[in-house]
């Protein structure tokens, strides 16, 4: 039986362009070369080839992997290597650089490849090899396998759906993994219908040979997550590969960019290694906050050792073994013991082993857990809270969501959620370690296989810690984790072997379902990557009013929606709406966050360290006449960032956004000069012209920063109106923006201003507290008791505190600048000494007289010398979630000196206010709870004090 793809019609040939010529020529080649060879005959040759290498395993590991290609020439680039180039040494250099797969061009006429190249490379390397061939005839497959191919390329453009499917099957029967490539939605539909597990998306249109580097990214959204996806062509820079990883590609096929490196193996290895590094997901040290969002993954209903080992290899955190009689995955104790022994021998630390039981007598369950040494018991029946108290192991309680609420009206969902939350709390109160949410109604209580009611699950997960179960599979798990703040996921049926019609295949010997190792691997990979480059996705319960966490549809914050909004001249509304939409897009764009994180690690020097300041803590304790050595005070060292403060994160984020908005000019305001310097720096880096407005009073106080901005190429415009400080600089920047709104993006430096600014700046700065939470967990194993930050407009404060708003046990403290004292009227304490009104485009607290005239603020610290405060902080204050303290000018100076002398760190005057206030709190403040002796305190050291030395000089 020979299966030759039919000769294309003339119309098809026109549509296919160059590709048609190549395919035609290949057909002629096959006819000539394999004329006398039967398929069965060729198959015998293939069977003699070395065993195929596992091609999918390497791609199932976290991150994006490099498929490095050998090709002598291409129709688009011409000759890429000299005829005598050593493909074997090149392939070895690829592997030495970390390539996971080597691709070898086999086509002779356009690409100068040979089957001998393939065989030589296969013999020389240890990784799988992809045969890059134009397969037009099924007989080519065994020939390629005989030469050693582990994977084979199939072009969806060359085949209709059914022939493509049969080629896929034929390749797999030979032991080769087919990579099915598509360039447009129609080709993609065919590729998906072929059941290929490996889908290639080509940026190059093979008909025209033109490359659109974003093409594959756009098409990626149409590929379900249950396939491995490869991006092909169009790589110029390392950053492109990093972006591909972030949007969910598992591999990048890189040819030209490596071929043009030349023949020097060391250079080739280095170039390969750069791409490989770009595909690697950030480590926990590079992105601590991501570790905090990474879900717990449990593979449930494991029925044999290979299934358990698949879970171990995939990096699952737990496996579940079913002991519920009359369910399909129920195990006898001997089989269970074998599985447990294998798992515990294979991994260190091994995944938790959880026993699933249904309404089992507690004594009986305890005996089972003791016999098998189970790490936890999962209760799947109608056990009440009292059962939990009688069990000797940690208990995971499954709550079934009533099916009638699954897709019902909002009111019903809210009611069902409230009822479920109440039940969950009763189990948690009884000592349950975890709550699992599953839909009910299926025939088997051990995992119903029904899709969980996502909306309801999300509502519950916002209130109590839960894991999602039911209806999950590799295709939908990432979406579920982005949509639901669940701590983890549990899967059984979604990763099992299935027949072509979708039914679960039972093993012939014991009648139990079996895990599909590919699905298990992909499920874990997709789950662990779901929130990786989505720093704004919720990953845990936040049981506070939504209005304290985010804006409503009108850009307002607060329980009553009483803060924020958009009070601006009509001219700016269009730009603000456009900005809001752009930001909404960015919030969900992993490429943006991956790029920003890369800048944070490589350029800013983040994540900033968390430093335990024992000598400072002791000094505060001594001054307060309290026992020494109890307080554990951690400084979040944002002062160590490039440019010396937290501001750079926001400036870089908004500068990247400026490019996306298509704006060509940047303006900013600055008080202390930190935001001005940060914006000037970001603009120098991204080559954007930059104008910074600065009050002349601040120009005088912060001369070094003015010089820095000049040297960075920014224009500093002195503002003389009003109090000639930060407030007036914002006014002037707004006027500039009103006038130049069509070309200019205004990089506002604080979490103030019209919507979407307070939210956008918060989104960018919340990395401070998100990172600190994980860093603190590493050293203390828990969250802080108190988080304290200074407050001017509030970008540093909201950045540090956001992570903890939904953590009821963490005290949040904002420290305002009291200037000469709040009672003197010469201060900058907007919350303590102000009232609600509108300043700079949003409704919030501000200093004002009874006519609504804004009163000038007074503070020795230019960064706090602002009469307003961000709307989210106002909302937190009014809701009682934010405690407000203050420190005077002289207290701040004293604190600056204390930190400098005790720790050798010169803090800026701004965070010195926070230190001063903490000192007062440790000593005991009327109206504020005492800090307990052994408290863990997190303090935002938002900037360094070099800029303030001149001011200190004047103070003696």
């Amino acid at each position: 039986m020979t299966a030759i793809a039919p000769r294309p019609s003339t119309r098809t040939a026109e549509r296919l362009g160059v590709l048609a010529d190549i395919a035609e020529r290949r057909r002629a080649d096959v006819a000539a070369e394999l004329a006398d060879r039967a398929l069965a005959d060729l198959g015998r040759d293939a069977a003699l080839a070395p065993a195929p290498r596992d091609a999918l395993g390497p791609l199932l590991r976290p991150g994006l992997h490099v498929i490095a290609e050998v090709k002598r020439r291409s129709p688009s680039a011409g000759a890429l290597a000299s005829p005598e180039t050593d493909v074997v040494s090149r392939a070895r250099a690829y592997v030495a650089g970390g390539a996971s797969i080597v691709s070898v061009l086999v086509e002779p006429h356009w690409f100068g490849g040979t089957i001998d190249d393939l065989a030589a490379v296969r013999a020389a390397v240890t990784v799988p090899v992809l045969a890059k061939e134009f397969v037009v005839d099924r007989r080519q497959l065994p020939v390629l396998r005989a030469a050693g191919a582990d994977l084979v390329l199939l072009l969806s453009a060359l085949h209709q759906t059914r022939p493509l499917r049969s080629l896929v099957r034929a390749a797999r029967d030979l032991g080769m993994e087919p990579l099915v490539e598509a360039h447009d939605p129609r080709e993609l539909d065919r590729a998906l219908a072929s059941d290929a597990r490996l889908i290639g998306l080509n940026n190059r249109d093979l008909r025209t040979l033109l490359v659109d580097p974003d093409h594959a990214v756009r098409l990626r959204a149409s590929v379900p997550d249950d396939r491995l996806v490869v991006a092909e062509s169009g790589v110029r820079e390392v950053a492109t590969v990093a972006g591909w990883r972030a949007v969910g590609f598992d591999a990048a096929l890189i040819g030209e960019a490596l071929m043009t490196t030349g023949d020097d193996p060391i250079a080739i290895r280095a170039r390969t290694a750069a791409f490989v590094a770009a595909g690697r997901p950030p480590s926990a040290a590079e992105d601590p906050a991501a570790a905090d969002r990474t879900p717990f993954v449990k593979i449930c209903g494991v029925t044999d050792v290979p299934g358990a080992m698949a879970a171990v290899r995939a990096g699952a955190d737990a496996i579940g073994l079913n002991f519920a009689p009359a369910t399909p995955r129920v195990l006898d104790e001997r089989t269970a013991a074998t599985i447990i022994a294998a798992v515990r021998a294979a991994a260190s630390p091994p995944p938790l082993v959880v026993g699933v039981v249904v309404d089992r007598d507690p004594d009986d369950a305890n005996a089972l857990a003791r016999r098998l040494d189970l790490d936890a018991l999962q209760l799947h029946g109608s056990e009440g809270p009292e059962t939990i108290r009688r069990l000797e192991r940690p208990v995971w309680k499954v709550l079934h969501l009533p099916p009638e609420c699954a897709d019902d009206a909002v009111a019903t969902v809210a009611e069902a959620a409230a009822a479920t939350v109440e039940r969950a709390r009763s189990y948690l109160a009884a000592g349950a370690a975890r709550i699992m949410i599953d839909t009910a109604g299926g025939p088997f209580p051990g995992g119903t296989g029904r899709r969980a009611a996502r909306q309801l699950a999300a509502a519950v997960a916002r209130e109590v810690p839960v894991m999602l179960a039911g209806g999950l599979d590799p295709a939908n798990v990432a979406g579920a984790l982005v949509a639901t703040p669940a701590l983890g996921v549990d899967v059984a049926g979604g990763v099992e072997r299935r027949a072509r019609d979708g039914t679960i295949v039972r093993d012939r010997r014991d009648g139990r379902p079996r895990k599909d190792a590919f699905k298990v691997g992909l499920f874990v990979k997709r789950a662990k990557a779901a929130r990786l480059d989505r720093p704004l996705s919720d990953a845990r319960p936040t049981p506070v009013h939504r209005g304290l966490l985010d804006v409503d549809a009108r850009g307002r914050w607060g329980v009553e929606g009483e803060f924020g909004g958009r009070y601006v001249p009509e001219t700016l509304v269009g730009a603000l709406v456009a900005l809001e939409h752009a930001w909404d897009g960015v919030r969900d764009d992993p490429r943006f966050w991956a790029e920003l994180r890369q800048l944070r690690t490589d350029y800013v020097g983040g994540p900033s360290p968390l430093y335990r300041a024992d000598r400072l803590a002791a000094a505060l304790e001594r001054a307060a006449d309290r026992p020494i050595g109890h307080l554990r005070l951690y400084l979040k060292r944002e002062d160590l960032n490039h440019t010396g403060a937290h501001k750079i994160t926001n400036a870089l984020g908004q500068a990247l956004l400026t490019r996306r908005l298509g704006k060509t000019r940047v303006i900013a305001e600055t008080g202390a000069g930190q935001h001005g310097v940060a914006t000037a720096t970001a603009c120098a880096l991204l080559d954007l012209p930059c104008v910074v407005y600065m009050g002349i009073e601040d120009v005088r106080r912060q001369a070094p920063n003015v010089l820095r901005m000049h040297e960075l190429g920014a224009e500093v415009r002195e503002v003389t109106s009003g109090s000639a400080t930060l407030k007036d600089a914002i006014n002037e920047a707004m006027r500039d923006w009103v006038t130049n709104v069509e070309t200019t993006h205004y990089v506002l430096g604080s979490a103030v201003g019209p919507h979407p600014y307070p939210r956008m700046v918060r989104d960018l700065q919340r990395v401070i507290g998100d990172d600190a939470a994980t860093q603190l967990r590493w050293v203390e194993g828990r969250l802080p008791d108190v988080a304290v930050a200074c407050v001017g407009g509030g970008s540093n404060a909201i950045g540090l505190l956001s992570r903890f708003i939904g953590e009821p046990d963490v005290r949040l403290i904002g420290v305002e600048a009291a200037g000469e004292g709040v009672s003197t009227g010469h201060h900058a304490a907007a919350l303590a000494g102000g009232s609600p009104g509108v300043l700079h485009g949003s409704r919030s607290y501000l200093l004002q007289d009874r006519d609504g005239q804004v009163i000038e603020a007074h503070s020795i610290s230019a960064g706090l010398d602002y009469p307003g405060i961000g709307p989210q902080l106002s909302a937190l204050y009014v809701a009682g979630r934010l405690e407000v303290l203050d420190a005077t000018d002289s207290e701040a100076i004293e604190a600056l000196r204390l930190v400098t002398r005790t720790e050798g760190i010169i803090p800026a005057l701004e965070p010195s206010h926070a230190v001063a206030a903490l000192g007062k709190l440790v000593g005991g403040l009327r109206g504020h709870a005492l800090v307990p002796d052994d408290a863990v305190v997190l303090l935002g050291l938002s900037g360094r004090g070099d800029k303030d030395l001149g001011v200190l000089e004047g103070e003696g």
């Binding site: 009070y567 001249p569 509304v573 609600p836």
Partner: protein, 295 residues
């Protein structure tokens, strides 16, 4: 939590201030100017600039020089929609003791002296909402003789609360429309504005300009076509030529910074009155030479 673009809201009985007595007085004034063959001339001066007495004299002189409506700027500490001239005037007025109470007093004196001329205070939103009782502030403006109110940083998206207070006080709340306002939104604003619709002639802050920007004609014609109420163009209007040019398209013109410049710190009421008279002559449509259609 994405907020959709502010949806165009066509006026309903519960929104807008077109039904207020203040709006009716303003509309009658525009109609009277129209039947006289004139573009309505709206003069803007700053309350208390350069001092209280002079600003009273300036207001009366502007009215006597031909202004149909008087906008009275209430000086503000942070006038971010204003250019250099009005920022300066605001800060001088505040330094010289301008307060809300004194502005009310000035308003009342102007109203007593020229009761038929609609008075429209112009301020910033915090001058209303930053006070203990915004409703009382609006009521007192109305009692002092105001027919309308303009808040430079209030848009229809945030206006519902102030609109309700304005309706209670029988004041027209005048909204602004800008060249950057999307077409649907222009309609929504026109239907929510009371008395007249304030068309900002260019993208920028207030301030006298030598010439009007290109494209202003097309923008104003578009707004005029969409608005059920009179349209007055402001920002940058300073010369009789501007008034003639704009008068072909809109129902009224607003002159502010140019008058404040003419008045100056020295309070040259006569110089300002001369300018008003010149502008009033230009507002006479019969004398207007025909212009090419694209202005």
């Amino acid at each position: 939590m994405s907020a959709a673009a502010p949806a165009p809201a066509i006026a309903s009985p519960g929104s807008g201030t077109s039904g207020t007595a203040g709006a009716a007085r303003i509309r009658a004034t525009f109609e009277a100017a129209k039947s006289d063959g004139r573009t309505a001339l709206i003069a803007y001066i700053v309350a208390g600039y350069p001092d209280g007495d002079t600003s009273l004299a300036a207001a009366l002189a502007a009215i006597d020089g031909g202004a149909d409506v008087l906008e009275l700027g209430l000086p503000y500490s942070d006038p971010l929609a204003d250019g250099a001239t009005l920022q300066h005037a605001s800060s001088v007025a505040l330094r010289n003791g301008a307060t809300f109470e004194r502005s009310l007093d000035l308003l009342a004196r102007i109203h007593r002296a020229r009761p038929t001329v609609p008075l429209v205070p112009m301020a910033y939103v915090n001058q209303a909402v930053g006070r203990d009782d915004p409703e009382a502030a609006l009521r007192r403006l109305a009692e002092a003789g105001a027919s309308g109110l303009i808040l430079a940083d209030l848009t229809i998206d945030e206006g519902a609360e102030i609109e309700a207070a304005a309706r209670a006080a029988d004041l027209a709340l005048v909204y602004l429309v800008a060249p950057t306002t999307a077409p649907d939104r222009r309609i929504a604003i026109a239907h929510r504005s009371g008395g007249y619709l304030y068309a900002v002639s260019f993208v920028g802050v207030t301030g006298a300009r030598r010439s009007l920007p290109p494209g202003v004609g097309a923008f104003l014609r578009d707004v005029r076509a969409r608005s059920p109420i009179p349209v007055a163009a402001g920002f940058g209007v300073s010369r009789p030529g501007h008034v003639r040019q704009l008068g072909r398209v809109v129902d009224g013109v607003i002159v502010g910074s140019a008058l404040v410049d003419a008045l100056g710190d020295e309070g040259d009421v006569a110089r300002m009155a001369d300018l008003v008279r010149g502008l009033a002559v230009a507002a006479q449509r019969d004398l207007t030479p025909r212009l090419p259609p694209e202005v």
